[in-house]
Symmetry: C2
Subunit: 366 residues, 2 copies
């Protein structure tokens, strides 16, 4: 693997991504596959199948990554296996940005924030003279690429706080309904990785409770997570702002204050798992430095655990970055060589998008 | 109702309770009842039953409270009812101390903290000269009753922080195995209210996701909540300390820092519901001023919602306090007249332990 070009090692906090209704289609695929088992010939014993009757991971190419997932599920759910995990303990966690959907060229939640600045600009004439708003309104890509953490904090405060939780959710849903990714020209919610939806579905089918553990905003992600991934609101662990309980005409509301309450990234992901889930996962999927402690925490438990990192090495179908191909000046999805080294030392699996994924998106031509 | 005697209106923060294996017995009861339906006489139409075939709330006396619960479940689960709630939206929340188990004469978690001070005293010889430890070690009930919030913060810091999450859980479980309530002379985990276990079981059987939303420590409660109530760790919303991610001999641990992270009480209960559950409940059960905003938040949603407060008016079988009978100098389970007034104005139900509960504890003589 190529060493990555020097890049900031701390991911921009709180700026993240979004998606849409792949799940009904996926369920249909699973139903069709599930109903398509050929009956065994009556007088010959069936050969032992390497996979279950129907392949639960049809978008994966055969290889070490796919086999690791199937083996993990087989062994943790087989009561006769020393790696058996009782149903109550079956927990699996997934990062979102770069693990479940596209995070380039900018986290979706960052795109949302920039679009909101432009939408709100007419009510803030003073912004046309003040940075960072001025560059956003002028759509100055170079300036935006060089925004500091303080710039992003100002943008997030202006777009994510000062409204009720219900108002924010509605704003996110309205934006998702029309916003499109610049490269794919599709709604962001179309940009979920089909192979990962298959893994989530296969784990759920085998009694695993699945959670998203994202550095992104918890309420932002909840606005679409049920529809896109089948995660209930309680299954979204994410970053959050301070909420204050207020009365609006006698009716209680929860106001989003411009102050970070919890940053679910890096070590915060292990803390978030403890606070929101309260059980150590048996499987964890990530793709960047922000997922390091989540994988360490998962791997430090007893018995068989599965830790996997998605490597973005497919510029044709998606993007290439991380240790395989450094993107200069990008702190989106940072995957330093030290993370690859830790993965190798600890037996974490690296998923190559290029080699392990037969199909990445539902909309891809077959 | 008698106006309560003047008492501090702010509940002591972070000092709370615990319980043991009633659930297997309860499940057995439900199984037996469930299997005992008499077949309908073949040639007469069965009379419409006021309750399901078997009474799901056998520990409740007939009355407005019991009928309100049964009606709520009937209407929210009947697709032809205007109050129908889709399964994904069925959420119910329960306070713990004074709502699911005994909170007098002191929150169980407070008893645990005092016992831990005594257990740790030999390693802290300096405590014998310093308050508040000195009074705890001397078991000076009068001094303990007059502890300030600062005293309790010191006691909690000494007993709840400075160890890993796993060490704390083990300590709580060891304590619960031997500690006994002074009046009932039974493990604290025996002191759960059977009528409320029936409500929880009936809601779950009808597709409700049930959560505890407690001012008590989240990790303290998780140590026994699955066994005692059937709540998974993720179904416990509670107060928490700051956690720090550290390495101990290369292995990651989460250290409990002596600093409050989240106080799940009063307005914090509405915030906790939003953060940890992410959906507005359709039913909420509490018993004190600390549950006011949780019930307000629940009641402010559309459609049919059920809000109930347990009134402790049964000194024979349990305790009497709140608006029915003020306990001087007690801030445990504060139930001011203003809460009763809000309940009456908003149609919240008040459950009288004395009149509504046929049986309070599983260990009670029948």
């Amino acid at each position: 693997m190529v060493k990555p070009s020097p890049s900031p090692s701390v991911a921009t906090s709180g700026v993240h991504r979004s998606v849409r209704a792949l799940l009904p289609a996926l369920l249909l695929v699973l139903l069709i596959l599930g109903g398509a088992c050929a009956p065994a010939a009556p007088d010959t014993a069936p050969a032992p199948a390497p996979y279950p009757d129907s392949d639960p991971l049809p978008s994966w190419n055969d290889g070490a990554a796919k086999e690791a997932i199937l083996k993990f599920v087989r062994e943790t759910t087989d009561e006769s296996s020393p790696s058996f995990v009782p149903p109550d303990d079956r927990v699996a966690v997934f990062d979102q940005d770069g693990t479940l959907w596209v995070e380039h060229p900018l986290y979706t939640q960052g795109v949302f924030a920039l679009d909101r600045i432009r939408a709100l600009a007419p009510s803030h004439p003073e912004w046309s003279e003040i940075e960072p708003y001025k560059s956003v309104i002028a759509n100055d890509a170079q300036a935006i690429a060089n925004f500091t953490k303080a710039d992003w904090v100002a943008i997030l405060a202006a777009t994510h706080a000062g409204m009720t939780t219900e108002q924010f959710t509605e704003t996110v849903q309205q934006w998702l309904a029309t916003a499109k990714h610049p490269r794919y020209n599709r709604p962001y919610t179309d940009l979920v990785y089909l192979p990962m939806l298959e893994v989530i579905a296969w784990l759920r089918e085998n009694g695993f409770q699945t959670y998203m553990v994202t550095g992104g905003g918890q309420l932002f992600v909840r606005a679409y997570a049920r529809k896109v991934y089948g995660f209930s609101p309680a299954e979204i662990v994410g970053s959050s702002l301070v909420l204050s309980y207020q009365y609006d005409g006698g009716k209680p509301v929860l106001m989003r204050e411009p102050k970070l309450f919890f940053m679910d990234d890096g070590p915060g992901k292990a803390v978030g798992i403890e606070l929101f889930i309260g059980q150590r996962p048996f499987a964890a999927f990530g793709n960047s430095n922000g997922d390091r402690q989540m994988l360490e925490w998962t791997g430090a438990g007893y018995g068989k655990r599965l830790m996997m990192l998605v490597l973005h090495d497919d510029p044709e179908r998606e993007y290439a970055y991380g240790p395989a191909n450094g993107l200069p000046n990008s702190d989106v999805g940072t995957f330093p060589q030290s993370l690859a080294d830790e993965a190798n030392a600890k037996g974490w699996f690296i998923i190559s998008m290029k080699n392990d994924w037969k199909r990445i998106f539902l909309f891809e031509e077959q």
